[in-house]
């Protein structure tokens, strides 16, 4: 498919999405809208985590930490100066006087997360497999204890409350679209192939001249950027951010979305994220009425075990399903199916 057709397809899909968003803002109540917004944020998170976990094959659990960094950064930049004087009297002067608007604050949050990812990435990304997983898990706890203890900036365990509710469906949709475009272009670019090469066989890739460390850190930082932005979106949707907002449980849920959707598959991850978020939300009233708190998490965890046992590559593997083919909507050339054939080999 030529370039022009793929642009046309992209514009068509995004207009279709915008139509749905418009319908959503018109017809849904606050609760319904917030669910859709959560779905969008979770898709951004899962798809961006899929860059590191799916494409490069680095198993990171660090997304909640980056969300916390991004969320706090954007919240502090956005709180009006007079309120900041009340909430956070110990803030350094140059920071206390800042009053940013939403978009720059979100980007700054993403930037702060990237900075953190670079600092933590250089040492940590030399680790492999589950060692990396545990190290990034440790990073969540480190960020959490920083958030609790740096009370001059974060107000400690109380968290920052009463944040302006700036996150709307349109903001989420815009960022979702941006994330998808970036991830899709990345996956189908030469850089994306480089990443897959690293995942499949690191030694062979580096022999062919791939800069493994560079590519890994780039992927990690890119994922962190979107996590930071979603942290900001999340904070201004819930209007509260506290050290317990972003925990390891969230990391687990994101990993579930990737595992179920297929690591490396953008559409698979999107579907899994949407289904999981909505299912959790639907089960919540059931849980409350039956007094069975935690039951939905048990169900999710059981699902993951079953997927791992019976369909370890997830629903779609690395491939993108043909959902859009019916109207020739595919953005680029059709993604080769080779990904699903080359099972990820790892010497145990």
């Amino acid at each position: 498919m030529d370039q022009r057709a793929s642009y046309r397809a992209f514009i068509l899909v995004s207009l279709l999405g915008a139509g749905f968003v418009f319908l959503g803002t018109q017809s849904l109540d606050d609760y319904g809208r917030s669910i859709i917004e959560f779905v969008g944020i979770n898709i951004i998170l899962a798809v961006s985590l899929n860059i590191t976990n799916g494409l490069v094959g680095l198993f990171s659990l660090g997304h909640p930490a980056f969300m916390a960094i991004g969320g706090y950064t954007s919240a502090i930049l956005l709180i009006p100066a007079n309120r900041k004087a009340l909430l956070l009297p110990d803030l350094p002067h140059w920071l206390a006087s800042q009053e940013w608007t939403f978009l720059p604050a979100l980007i700054a949050g993403g930037g702060a997360a990237v900075l953190a990812a670079l600092i933590i990435g250089f040492p940590v990304l030399r680790l492999r497999g589950h060692y990396l997983a545990v190290a990034t898990l440790g990073f969540i706890f480190i960020v959490q204890s920083l958030a609790v203890n740096l009370s001059g900036i974060t107000r400690g365990a109380l968290g920052l409350s009463g944040l302006p509710a700036l996150t709307t469906l349109w903001w989420v949709y815009g960022w979702l679209l941006f994330t998808l475009v970036v991830c899709w272009r990345l996956k189908h670019s030469s850089l994306g192939r480089t990443m897959l090469a690293i995942r499949e066989n690191e030694l062979a890739a580096s022999c062919l001249g791939v800069k493994v460390t560079h590519t890994r850190i780039f992927a990690f930082a890119l994922g962190a950027f979107f996590a930071g932005v979603s942290g900001g979106l999340w904070a201004h949707l819930v209007t509260l951010i506290s050290p317990s907002s972003f925990t390891f449980l969230l990391a687990f849920q994101l990993v579930v979305m990737i595992v179920v959707g297929g690591s490396g598959s953008i559409i698979g991850t999107m579907l899994a994220a949407a289904i999981l978020t909505i299912a959790t939300e639907m089960l919540r009233p059931v849980e409350e009425s039956l007094d069975l708190f935690g039951a939905s998490q048990i169900l999710t965890a059981l699902c993951v075990l079953l997927v791992l046992i019976f369909r370890p590559r997830g629903l779609f593997g690395t491939a993108e399903p043909d959902l859009l083919r019916w109207s020739g909507l595919l953005f680029g050339r059709h993604w080769t199916r080779s990904g699903s054939k080359n099972r990820r080999k790892e010497v145990s």
Partner: protein, 298 residues
């Protein structure tokens, strides 16, 4: 900062270290044989604590007997988890097992919340264990001494078991080389089961100790100690049982001294300190104190 204060901190560090060591052993044993970081291992601690509470409160077992019961319950649960969750995905990439263990951890924690609620409960030990004994300048609770002695006895017993018994030798052979061990006619499934049983039994006992030392238990109590015990296993060198014991004590002492000796405004960074140490150790000496280079980690 007086000498008795520092001594008291060291004693605390040894007690904490004993518990870390017991949990870390399980991490190391299981990793040594199946190359799996069992994230759910920490939750066995919580199960052990609740099992002992149930044993003492419902079945009114005498406390020493409760220890045996907890060992047995822990071992049984470990074997059960291995059978239903980890055995079906043996041979899959390492990360698969790790994700599965995350899922198991979530299931255990939420089942705990469903059945006994997330509310922390008080854990009482028999009053004779709360008496104070004077040793030198220190007065120490009996339970604290009992924890250390029990931990050391269990570890000594384990060391002898692994060193001299037939199963122990077979386990070491499996850890050394999985495929060759199988060719030599060692029943791998049984070895893996034993590793899970022993490791989980010890972790459950550590849960009992945790409860009696801190007096409070909850279904989520195992998460952070479990992760820290993993750090201890890494310090000692994952895969090495002696290393895990050593790592447990090193981490316990380091953590307590970090909190005790630095000004109190730093004590909130306790967890940050432990996990920062993890990252540093993985980078600087990925094989830990006593581990051998089993494979590439860095």
């Amino acid at each position: 900062m007086t000498t008795p204060y520092i001594l008291a901190q060291i004693v605390n560090g040894i007690i904490l270290g004993s518990m870390y060591a017991l949990v870390a052993i399980g991490f190391s044993m299981i990793y040594g044989i199946v190359r799996l970081i069992n994230f759910a291992h920490g939750d066995i601690l919580a199960i052990g604590a609740f099992a002992s509470l149930a044993g003492v409160a419902i079945f009114s077992l005498p406390f020493p007997l409760a220890i045996l019961a907890v060992l047995a319950v822990g071992a049984a649960i470990g074997v059960f988890i291995e059978r239903i969750a980890f055995r079906p995905m043996r041979g899959a990439p390492q990360v698969t097992g790790f994700i599965a263990s995350l899922a198991v951890a979530i299931i255990i924690e939420n089942l705990g919340i469903l059945t006994v609620s997330a509310q922390p409960r008080t854990f009482r030990v028999p009053h004779y264990l709360n008496d104070l004994v004077n040793i030198g300048m220190q007065s120490i609770r009996v339970i604290d001494i009992a924890i250390v002695i029990l931990a050391v006895c269990l570890m000594a017993f384990l060391a002898l078991f692994v060193r001299f018994s037939k199963i122990g030798i077979a386990m070491r052979a499996t850890a050394e080389n999985y495929d060759v061990a199988r060719l030599m006619g060692i029943n791998i499934d049984r070895m893996i089961m034993t590793a899970f049983a022993v490791g989980s039994g010890l972790a459950a006992t550590a849960g009992l100790m945790w409860g009696s030392k801190y007096g409070q238990i909850s279904p989520l109590m195992g998460l952070v100690p479990g992760l820290k015990a993993f750090v201890a296993a890494v310090i000692g060198g994952v895969g090495s049982i002696t290393g895990a014991m050593l790592g447990g004590y090193v981490l316990g002492l380091a953590e307590v001294l970090f909190v005790g000796l630095l000004p109190s405004e730093y004590s909130g960074y306790r967890n940050a300190f432990v996990f920062g140490a993890l990252i540093l150790i993985l980078l600087l000496m990925p094989n830990g104190l006593l581990g051998r280079n089993l494979e590439e980690r860095a």
